[in-house]
């Protein structure tokens, strides 16, 4: 069973998000890059299922040339192949992204889709559109379930569970299928030093997807870091000397004891 995990390169913001002067982007000049924790789990699931059902795992990203870094992390986790749909770094909307991914997956097809199971993050870390997985699945006419916290594949059937109040709802999908997974669905492996070295030498399939033009749509005006009312906290004291003040606060002021 061949699997595909779709990942998106995003800045690894720390304690404060700083915007560029034109408010169009996060100022990433001093930041590292990463992928969403949900997507780390998508990669892990792709590898686990490929291992369990004797197939290959592929990682795919649509993004700037530097997204190679995130793909190599996937390879170091022992994914077999990596595909980069190269952009010039501009932001792609979910409709365009999904069209490009679906086209790439279709192109890969020999008899059928080329992949039996497509894995997505529940939402991308930066845009959080909740759409790319659904749109890719619709374009390829395969079933999709998102928000998945438990995933199994048995005898050609995907068993996917999603948390609801008081329990979990269970879905059963015939392969080929697509799912959007949440952090917690598995524990992503750490790549060994040796695997990281090896991943550096592996080749990455590249292509330039045509930027599809849709009539109308969404146009970003600007980003804004909301005012979180940050100020300095009232320091109640240092070390154990603060304990009486804390106890007073909890008992008398906040009344939570």
């Amino acid at each position: 069973m061949d699997t595909l995990a779709c990942i998106k390169r995003v800045p690894d913001t720390g304690a404060k998000i700083t915007l560029t002067d034109d408010d169009q982007h996060i100022d990433a000049s001093n930041l590292g890059f990463t992928i969403s924790p949900h997507e780390e789990c998508a990669v892990e699931a792709a590898i686990q299922q490929a291992e369990a059902h004797e197939g290959t795992a592929t990682v795919l990203s649509l993004g700037p040339p530097d997204a190679e870094e995130q793909l190599r992390t996937g390879l170091a986790m022992t994914a077999d192949e990596a595909v980069l749909l190269e952009t010039e770094g501009e932001e792609w909307r979910p409709r365009e992204t999904a069209t490009a991914i679906a086209d790439a997956v279709r192109d890969d097809a020999d008899a059928n889709l080329g992949f039996d199971l497509l894995l997505f993050g529940d939402e991308s870390a930066d845009a959080g559109n909740h759409q790319v997985g659904v749109r890719v699945a619709e374009a390829l006419d395969v079933p999709f379930v998102g928000g998945v916290s438990h995933l199994d594949v048995e005898d050609g059937t995907v068993v996917a569970k999603r948390d609801v109040t008081g329990g979990m709802e269970v879905y059963e999908l015939d392969l080929p299928a697509a799912v959007g997974v949440k952090e917690g669905v598995n524990e992503p492996r750490y790549a060994s030093m040796r695997a990281k070295m090896q991943a550096r030498k592996q080749s990455i399939q590249r292509s330039d997807p045509p930027s599809s033009e849709f009539a109308g749509g969404i146009e970003k005006l600007r980003l804004e870091a909301p005012d979180t009312g940050e100020g300095d906290a009232e320091v109640l004291g240092e070390g154990v000397e603060a304990v009486q003040a804390v106890a007073d606060l909890l008992e008398n002021e906040l009344e939570v004891t």
């Binding site: 870390a125 959080g128 952090e183 980003l223 304990v243 804390v246 606060l249």
Partner: protein, 322 residues
């Protein structure tokens, strides 16, 4: 017409649906148009009275037994057909798993853009809107130009407010043309969980532990503190990654969103992805050895110190009867 997608349990609309309805009614007022709702499920029609208090005029109830169970593609195709026949200017859904999923399918099926997690929408010729990004740590301002506007309302961002004039909605069952294939995804069964203890999302007091806790055993101190305060323990992603706590305990962008009266953050630095999960807390108390840690600007109260000394001492102080 503005169409609201309403989820309900046994005929009672869910809280996120009432939030989305509140946004939908604002849009209806802005565009001087009618507010309708679409509901699924055997007891869908029972929502009518409640929806009347939100000013809904027509409740469109999907009339097909097969739709009583959640089936994302079939539900989306139904909403799509309603869009075709009724031509709403906008469809507004709650920012829940189902709301997002159904609207994304509608968008894909009708080749329309979808704007998820809206915070504010101004309806005109085009819609000018603000939406959440990075799980709520950033806001994007954007313009939406589309024949039918598909929007989801960010959860917990709108307070449900009833209409000035109560309506008596007409319930209109609508019939659909659905294929068997539209039902290939549907809830097969529900597994109930036997959860014990206070759920993180509902706790009045949460004691969070981060990398500063140093190991799994040291959470005992935090558990004691949480017990004394009738609360529960949470964690940062760093602590979960270390394997000290299960992922269910994680607070933040990819974990639980909490809204307690008090959040006590122990050994947590205050990364934006963590803070977005606890911004609903009324009060935040940070215990951290580093006076320069980002959490010191984000908390209301702080103790500069080693949690391994401060927490046990605090437990002792709280344990003493007056």
């Amino acid at each position: 017409m503005i169409l609201a997608f309403v989820e309900h349990t046994g005929g009672t609309p869910t809280e996120p649906s009432l939030e989305a309805l509140t946004l939908a009614r604002e849009l209806a007022a802005d565009t001087a148009s009618r507010l309708d709702a679409v509901v699924f499920g055997a007891e869908g029609a029972a929502t009518a009275d409640h929806l009347g208090t939100y000013g809904v005029e027509t409740v469109h109830h999907a009339d097909d037994e097969r739709l009583d169970t959640y089936a994302p593609e079939a539900w989306a195709e139904s909403v799509g057909q309603l869009v075709d026949t009724e031509g709403p200017e906008a469809v507004v859904a709650p920012g829940t798993d189902r709301g997002q999923e159904v609207l994304a399918h509608v968008g894909a099926k009708r080749d329309l853009p979808v704007v998820s997690n809206c915070l504010d929408v101004e309806a005109g010729e085009t819609y000018e809107l603000a939406r959440q990004r990075w799980g709520g740590s950033l806001v994007e301002h954007a313009v939406l130009d589309s024949e039918t506007k598909l929007l989801t309302a960010a959860e917990h961002e709108f307070s449900p407010s009833e209409a000035d004039t109560v309506t008596a909605p007409t319930v209109r069952p609508f019939t659909l043309e659905l294929d068997e294939s539209d039902f290939r995804v549907s809830v097969d069964r529900v597994e109930e969980s036997d959860t014990t203890g206070v759920a993180l999302g509902e706790a009045r007091v949460v004691v969070g532990g981060g990398r500063g806790v140093g190991g799994p055993d040291d959470y005992d101190k935090l558990e004691t503190l949480a017990d004394r305060l009738g609360g529960t323990v949470g964690a940062s992603r760093a602590a979960v990654n270390e394997g000290w706590r299960p992922h269910e305990d994680q607070i933040g962008q990819t974990g639980a969103k909490i809204s307690p009266d008090l959040y006590i953050a122990c050994g947590i630095s205050g990364a934006v992805q963590h803070m977005v999960g606890c911004k609903g807390a009324d009060n935040i108390l940070a215990i951290n050895t580093d006076p320069e840690a980002a959490i010191m600007q984000k908390a209301d109260y702080a103790v500069v110190g080693d949690l391994h000394e401060v927490v046990p001492e605090l437990n002792a102080a709280l344990g003493k009867e007056p």
